[in-house]
Symmetry: C2
Subunit: 491 residues, 2 copies
Amino acid sequence: MAKGLPKRSEDFSGWYNELVNKADLAEHSDVRGCMVIKPYGFAIWENMKSVLDAKFKQTGHQNAYFPLFIPKSYLSKEAAHVEGFAKECAVVTHYRLKTGEDGKSVVVDPEAKLEEELIVRPTSETIIWNSYKKWIQSYRDLPLMINQWANVVRWEMRTRLFLRTAEFLWQEGHTAHATEQEAVQEAEKMLEVYADFTEQYMAMPVVKGWKTESERFAGANETYCIEALMQDGKALQAGTSHFLGQNFAKAFDVKFSDANGKQEYVWATSWGVSTRLMGALILTHSDDLGLVLPPKLAPIHVAIVPIYKGEEQLNNIRKVAVKLQNELAQHNIIVKFDDDQQRKPGWKFAEYEMKGVPVRVAIGPRDMENGTAEVARRDTLQKESYPQEGLADKIKALLDEIQENLLNKAKTFQTENTTKVDNWEDFKNVLENKGGFILAHWDGTAETENKIKEETKATIRCIPYDSIEEEGKCIYTGKPSKRRVLFAKAY
Amino acid sequence: MAKGLPKRSEDFSGWYNELVNKADLAEHSDVRGCMVIKPYGFAIWENMKSVLDAKFKQTGHQNAYFPLFIPKSYLSKEAAHVEGFAKECAVVTHYRLKTGEDGKSVVVDPEAKLEEELIVRPTSETIIWNSYKKWIQSYRDLPLMINQWANVVRWEMRTRLFLRTAEFLWQEGHTAHATEQEAVQEAEKMLEVYADFTEQYMAMPVVKGWKTESERFAGANETYCIEALMQDGKALQAGTSHFLGQNFAKAFDVKFSDANGKQEYVWATSWGVSTRLMGALILTHSDDLGLVLPPKLAPIHVAIVPIYKGEEQLNNIRKVAVKLQNELAQHNIIVKFDDDQQRKPGWKFAEYEMKGVPVRVAIGPRDMENGTAEVARRDTLQKESYPQEGLADKIKALLDEIQENLLNKAKTFQTENTTKVDNWEDFKNVLENKGGFILAHWDGTAETENKIKEETKATIRCIPYDSIEEEGKCIYTGKPSKRRVLFAKAY
């Protein structure tokens, strides 16, 4: 913690990288594109996982586990899917090493070549639908609602910690239904689960909507998504949910007999969020001093820093701290009392600011005389002195307030940085000088979408659920349009 | 659930395979050696994970995540380690596929060959110690106590669901310490954590001990293990904990400066348990009717089966069932009320027996008249009628009793099937006709250990902690021995 971070206003990208490093969240490994998620970063991810997992179970899903490896031939069974996924993958070709001729190194044993290469899963639709074929015979086997927490690999060329890595952690839900309507409802419901999670836990507002055809998941009939706006005015796709139609059922020949004994193909969905949410969390709330965490996901809620000279003062402060810790523990509020004797209070203050601990309590000799404590909020950086009596209740309320404040702040930011634009000049101008979300009319063609992307790097993030029907003209071609779509440059 | 299982006494191996299949625990995938863990099996594993994870955290460990891939050259850095692990591994050689000449299939792009092959982790010591080098500079960075939940791959030729699969799920703890003593204590402590888990949660007694030199983990100075005895008289290694000395610190050059500024190599441990524990759980308690689960790990504790004619009877029974369900929910007891109208009670009874649900409650018209319910224990198969009034308390106590009974039964089995043997004839005789654990004297040489293994397939499972010092003669060579060791044929 010797030095601070680059300022966001001067070097946003450098600020992010340094923050991830200095807050001990993650680091690059020597393996190209793969990250090491460090304990503090992983604790935040575990908190996310635990909330999401409970939500999935509440909505009727069960966890299961499918193989890491996918036979190469599976990938080509669903035509659109292979086009989108089969390209940049890790390929296992051999199953044995042997000692090299120098007697020390190891080399791949050329005799241990696999008959069919195995792909490290980039997503699991194919291997899972291959199992579903065995599991589904009758309408009584439906709906089948399964989730998997897993690691996946996509051989990305340009990687950034959490935002884009070759290996990442995620969950993938894969459900099978008897009717199209039920599958569509499931895909929509899971998008709501994601949106509720990002708003209520990550304190990150999102725009819910449909992807355009060219931005859909490879193999999906419809992709629903949540899009969040980062502090630098760029969008980040935070989660997707796909209605897969009968595409995978047909590719893997998964039929069921309905109540009348008639054979039908099964309807499918898949949906996922990943460690990318960690990047979104950081980019939404953090500041020039470091990470800012919403209390509901913070591994440590309160850091207590004693300011003292000598053992006696420390012991007196410790009594107050331990009492506070015990009181807060009853509300599942996690307190760290930092009595490390080799670090100065100033160092500790900076450290907990860097790590985004929502509340810091400092207790010094004068506080002990007055029966007070100094309480600092990480979100606003405000400090205030409170009586030690009743402090636990005060902190409990303060944590709720911080959670709410972070969401409101992010909502305000999103509102202020969402601009309606009605012509091409304004579009380019807003994109260049203001950034953020742009609501504009589009003629509905992939051709126009592509041209806009080529000329400005802006993409259609989604067709928002709440975009109202109105007459308009495409900002690029002037052709008629019925509703605005959401444009932005994106992560 | 059309047919039952093979009898254990007639075909133990077939019984196990069929049980795993019929209880919906897991199945083979089309990918050689890789399994699909089905929702019911995964729910049991999740319960195991959650208990173990809490125990790891209580003992000061944090979770983190390291890359799936290990550069080939890392494996050869620790000489003993590469010897033990580098041989049967999945090797990634390419990172891209392309469309084949037929325009449909996909083929490996020969131009996308990795400069250095990547190994899918068979265990993570090497990749983790490569990170620890960056994380550890001073004694203030120690101890470093990290655990990882992950999938690993070892290219096994003969696989059995849960017991031996190419890919499996596990946790691997990796700790770094300033002193040899502290590292040894950590390795010993984690073995106690495992033993406590297997006894108190899995209801599976274990023998704690040291591995002989030839059975040690590749790269360890000492391997501690817990060995359990399965119903067929074969041993199963349920968990290991390794004191790694300074071997990995030296291989990856991980030094720390002590309080006096002197540079020292770090001392290490690693320890793990895996989905193999699922196999152990099944093989310890289950019977010819199916799975038997200790209540502490059961995904469903109580199944309520209504026996009725018509909606009115069902509705009356449902009221009683829902009340019971709510009362038990307060004690975290999970109840399934099975009012499926298309299955007969007899089918449901067999189904819940197959799935090892600890308690089954049947409520029929006569029960409704008498205000009673029939309660069946899965462990003893005993049935008894109880008043509906106070039934929740009765069931709560019964679940504790079942947990205890399963442990006692397994302990008795282990005691009865542990035989002291003092000569070679008796050794072969007991091994052949009785099986189980054999406590016998051994001269302490790897040569003798190997010969016994070659001649009988029995291995030294461990040198038990509680084996007392006594004069004796090696059963094979007659040479002097100071203590008995534990022999068995093993999974």
